[in-house]
Each structure stands twice: as C-alpha cells, then as structure tokens.
C-alpha cells in the first residue's frame, strides 16, 4: 500500500472514471448507429449497392425489379423502376430515398422533396460515376470505409481482367440487348467502357447515344468479331439464328455469337466487376483457358505466356 501514494491513487481513480465515461458514451453512440435508418431504393442497382455495403437491413422499400440478392425479393415494394408509387414511398417513412438519375424523373424527385423526403440521386453514366455513386451512398449511410472497401474490391476485379486480356489483340465487339429491333450499346455508356476493359472494341462506340437502334448494314460493314446478346428473356439459339444469313461477319463465321442474359452486365451496381469478367470471357475466351479446359487456345493470350 505504501508503494502507491495518495496522489497516485487519485490519478488512478480519475483515469478509471474517465475511461468508464468514455466507454459509456461510446456505447450510447454505438447503439444509435450513424446515418439514416430507413432507406427506400428506387433502382435494382441501388438495392444491390446497399446490400453489398452491409446496409441491406435498413431497406424499407425497393422496386419490383429488385431481385438481387435474394433477400431483396422479400422487402416491401414501392412500385416499378420507371414508375415508383409516391404514396408507397411516403408510407414507408424513409429517412432517405436513393435512386439513379437516369431512371427517376426529376419532377418526381422534386415532388418527393416537397413532401419532406430526403432524395439522393446518383449518376450511373460511366464506370467512374458508378464507383463514385457507391462511395457517396456509403458516406450517406455513415460508413465511408465500407464504400472505400467495396470500390477497392471492384477496382481489383477490373485490374485482374485487364491483366488477363492485356496480351490479346483487341476484338471488335457488338453488344446488344434486343434483336428486333437491334438495340446496341453506344458511346457514353458504362457498358462501352466494360467492352474496352475486356479487350474489345465497341463497333457502335462512336455513337452519341448511350443506346441506339442499329441498321443491319452497319453491322455487316463494321464486321464485328464478337457479338453478344445480353438482353433479358433472350433465347440461347436466337442470336445465332438471327445472324446466320450474314456469313461475312467474322463473329458469325468464327462462331463467336453469344446469348448471355446477365444482370451483372446490365446493372450499374456493385457487380459490374463480375460483369466485366463475363464480357471478357466472351471476347477473349482463350485468356481464361486454364479455368475452362477443352477450350482451344488461340493467338494472343498464349503468345505472352510460355
């Protein structure tokens, strides 16, 4: 007892008390997690982002198109993607409503704001926009780190695919989401960037529109080496049948016409990295040959690898 004098004892008790207070305050703060608690999502990609950031439990309303992850299907619906119901949204008493600016009508957003809702619209026009949008949603939810982590993961997926296809020569590519009419990915569309990252060269990439209706003769003249039909509800055999009579198109001659309906490609959300790999596997299958035995290795990828 003599070793600890009176002053030391006071300091110890003081420090103990301070640490108790700090701990107590912390626990109060922890119980009231930062950021909005009730969130309504107006787009499937936003729903996916919130789940990927670990905030899926704060969603109180999603669109009828929000089907990923599977838990999202069980959440209350607030209407369609282009036509959400204002009443249903207000009824959920959300702290914040998050949507994408291409789908949500600005007039509707203003109307929601007039009703006292906090509305946050993110842009998904480019890959940069998508990543910035993920970060801003994370910040909004009160966890910037979660956003940084998720974006880092996606960027790592991008660089892995880029490294894979780097040795291969670029292949001219056409990516469509419908055959009659032929609706293709144009320029100023994040999927155009995905095609480029996958080692492809979008034949409609010079178009001013993000989506456009292409005439057949343009496709014949541009002679794409790969044709991908990524639209939902397309049948496996349909694209090959559709292009079968245009034998001069290299993609038709070399049997690189793919039917691959994929949300990972079509949704500007946290799975774009996986979407990129899907596109790359179609544009440059030879670069992913070891994971798929039996595929013939062609020029390009094996050239750089002994």
């Amino acid at each position: 007892m003599n070793t600890m004098n009176h002053r030391e004892r006071i300091i110890t008790v003081y420090l103990f008390a301070v640490s108790l207070i700090v701990l107590y305050c912390n626990s109060i703060l922890a119980a009231e997690a930062p950021g909005p608690q009730r969130v309504v999502s107006l787009a499937p990609s936003v729903t996916e982002t919130l789940f990927a950031l670990g905030f899926g439990d704060r969603l109180v309303g999603v669109t009828t198109y929000c089907d990923y992850p599977p838990e999202a299907r069980r959440l209350p619906k607030i209407g369609g993607f282009m036509s959400p119901s204002l009443e249903a949204i207000v009824d959920k008493k959300p702290d914040v409503v998050i949507g994408v600016n291409t789908a949500t009508d600005p007039a509707k957003a203003r109307e929601m704001e007039r009703l006292g809702l906090k509305v946050n619209l993110i842009s998904v026009a480019s890959l940069n926009d998508i990543l910035a949008g993920i970060k801003s949603v994370a910040r909004l939810m009160g966890s910037s780190e979660a956003g940084e982590k998720l974006v880092l993961k996606i960027e790592r997926q991008f660089s892995q695919v880029k490294k894979r296809v780097a040795p291969a020569p670029r292949r001219s590519t056409l990516l469509v989401v419908g055959l009659r009419p032929l609706v293709a990915v144009g320029g100023k569309n994040y999927i155009d960037e995905l095609i480029t990252l996958a080692g492809g060269d979008n034949i409609a990439g010079n178009a001013a529109q993000p989506w456009l209706n292409l005439p057949d003769e343009y496709v014949v003249a541009k002679a794409p080496q790969v044709i991908i039909e990524a639209g939902m509800g397309s049948e496996r055999a349909a694209p090959a049948q559709h292009w079968g009579d245009l034998k001069s198109i290299p993609a038709v001659k070399e049997e690189r016409v793919f039917s691959y309906p994929s949300d990972k490609i079509l949704r500007p959300g946290p799975r774009v990295g996986e979407g990129l790999e899907e596109i790359a596997r179609m544009v440059h299958p030879e670069c992913f040959a070891e994971s798929k035995p039996g595929l013939k290795r062609r020029n390009g990828c094996e050239g750089s690898r002994p």
């Binding site: 198109y65 369609g80 419908g178 609706v183 209706n213 002679a223 245009l246 001069s248």
Partner: protein, 347 residues
C-alpha cells in the same frame, strides 16, 4: 365531275412518270445508306460471304422493297377509307384493325418472341410467329368492328369511324397496361415495335406482302368508278346504280385485310396513309381510277425515301421511320395546301 370520262392520256402519263420514279427510287435507295458500298465488289460474288453483297442484297434490298409495298398499300388504303368513310381524316391507323394487329403483335412478342414457322417444310425458310399473331389480331378486330358497325345489313360510315376510334383507344390502354407489367428491357422492345420499322432480311416475308398488297390494290382499283360515285353521297350513288351496301362491306374487308398484314410486318408507320392521298388529290385530282394507282406509286416512293433518311440521318443510329414520315410529310402537305388553297381538298 367525278363521273366524267377517264382521260387515258393523263392516266398513262401520270402513272408512267410515277412508275419510272418508283423504279429510280428503288435503285437509288438501295445504293444509299449509312455505310459505303463497293458496287462492283457486291455484284461479283453474290453467293459467297461477301460483305458488300450482304449489305446490298440482304440488309438493303429486302428492306427497300418492303418499304415500297407498305408505303403503296398504306396510301391506297388511305384513299379508299377517306372515300368510304367520307372523312378527310380517315387513315389506316384509325379503323381499329391496326390496333388489333398491334395488340396481337405485342402478345406474340411477349409470349413467343422467337418461335419460327417453317414454310413448305422449311424448304422456303421460316417466318416468325409475331407477324402471324399480329395478323390474327387484325382479323379478330376486323370481325368485331364489322359486327359493331353493321345495322340492317349496312355499314354506316359514322359507326365504322367511331367504333374504330374507340376500339383503338381501348386497345391502346391494353397495350400500355401490358407494357407496364413486362420486364424493363422487354418494354423497350415493345415500344420500338409499336413505333414501326421496315428492317427485314426475309425475302419470303417481303414476297408474301408484295403479292398480298398488289392483289388487294388491283381489286380496289377495279372499284375506282364506284368509289367516285360513293363520294357524291350514298343516295346519289344508289341512284346511279351502285350497290352501296355491298360495296362498303367489300371495301372495308379488303382494306382491313391489307392494313392488318401491313401492320403485322412493319408496325404502325403513320402519316403515309393520311397524307399521300391528300397530296395526290391535289396533284392529279379526285378521280379514283387515277387517284388510286397514283397514290399507290407515290406512297411507295415516299416511304422508300423516308426509310433511307431514317437509316442515314443519325448514323450510326437508325431513326424510327414514322418520325421521318411525319417530319417531312407534314410541312410538304401544308405547303401544297397553302399553294392550292383548300378548295381541292374536298373529297
């Protein structure tokens, strides 16, 4: 004046000129497009995998030929409908059959977009079920509208017009409802289909439509004189010996069959059927024996060029052809109206 003797020289002169223009247009439109074409290359190896030949003979020619048939058919149907309904606003889009065809096509696109029907056991190729569903929709709606408008064995123009307009409004509501419950991307496809397009590579379909439209047109042409009398008024026509009741029924069925087939393969391409008949009436007069073939040829020329512009204007994007027909046709029509005054517009 409408019953005056047919001026044979004018007939041959006008139609000969228009026919020559039509042939020139087919050649011109086939040579024009958003991509450059090496004609000598294209004609060398037609049957090998030759991009120039594929552009010329697969991507362009069937499309141009389809445009000519649809343009001509729409204009001819517009002429007879304006006479039959005695209404200058009558057009193929108005009589309900087009709505029925649209609904049939939409249902086909939703439920079996990729089904193919082999023709002659697949020897002649295959055609898609979507236009067949659309044609079925057209036939059903034709029967319905016919029943609605038939009173005491007679088709009354006002009943026909009203039931057509109301039927189309109803079908429009059904289509918008279907469009709002299908998948987002599918909805886009449906909207494009509704806007109309002449894009095709199927000579088989083009051949069918050509045979069908030309037969329909020739039959309507034989009724030219009676149509002249009908426009004088039903009573006058009856006094002059026209069986108006039977004629009205026949013309309604014939034009409905033509419109159903046209909407089935190309969707709703508006304005041709409304505008070309009026323009040609201002140019060649209102004698249906001359007006019908002149409108048929002019409609073909007009739609052929409109579709070429649709392919070229926003390269590489393709515009819906209906935008072009309205954009260029509207002001031209107003110009003719302004120049000639409203006096000739009367039927």
């Amino acid at each position: 004046m409408a019953v005056k003797v047919l001026d044979r020289r004018k007939m041959i002169w006008v139609n000969g000129l228009l026919l020559a223009l039509l042939v020139l247009s087919i050649v011109g439109c086939t040579l024009l497009g958003p991509v450059r074409l090496d004609l000598s290359q294209a004609l060398q190896n037609i049957f090998s995998a030759n991009p120039d030949a594929e552009i010329l003979f697969r991507a362009r020619l069937p499309r141009v030929l389809l445009g000519v048939a649809i343009g001509g058919g729409m204009a001819a149907c517009g002429v007879v409908l304006q006479a039959l309904l005695r209404n200058p606003l009558a057009c193929p889009q108005m009589i309900g059959v087009s709505g029925g065809a649209s609904l049939g096509g939409i249902l086909g696109l939703i439920f079996f977009p990729h089904w193919l029907l082999p023709i002659a056991g697949g020897l002649l190729g295959e055609i898609s079920w979507v236009p067949l569903a659309a044609f079925l929709g057209a036939l059903l709606s034709m029967v319905l509208i016919y029943r609605f408008s038939l009173f005491h064995g007679r088709l009354h123009p006002y009943h026909l017009l009203l039931s057509g307009v109301i039927f189309n409004a109803f079908i429009g509501a059904v289509i918008i409802f279907l469009n709002s419950i299908v998948d987002f991307y599918q909805a886009q496809g449906l909207l494009f289909w509704l806007m109309g397009s002449l894009s095709t590579r199927a000579y088989l379909t083009v051949g069918f439509i050509w045979a069908y439209i030309v037969l329909g047109f020739l039959w309507l042409w034989t009724k030219g004189l009676s149509l002249n009398l009908i426009t004088l008024g039903e009573e006058a026509a009856m006094q002059l010996g026209v069986e108006t009741g039977a004629l009205q029924r026949q013309i309604f069925v014939a034009s409905s069959l033509m419109i159903g087939a046209m909407v089935s393969v190309s969707g709703m391409i508006g304005f041709v059927g409304l505008m070309i008949p009026h323009v040609m009436r201002l140019v060649v007069g209102s004698d249906h024996r001359l007006l019908l073939p002149a409108s048929f040829l002019a409609g073909g020329i007009f739609l052929c060029w409109a579709d070429t512009l649709a392919r070229i204007l926003l390269t590489p994007a393709e515009l819906p052809v209906g935008i072009i027909t309205a954009f260029f046709g509207g002001p031209f029509f107003i110009f003719l109206l302004y120049r000639d005054g409203a006096k000739k517009l009367a039927l």
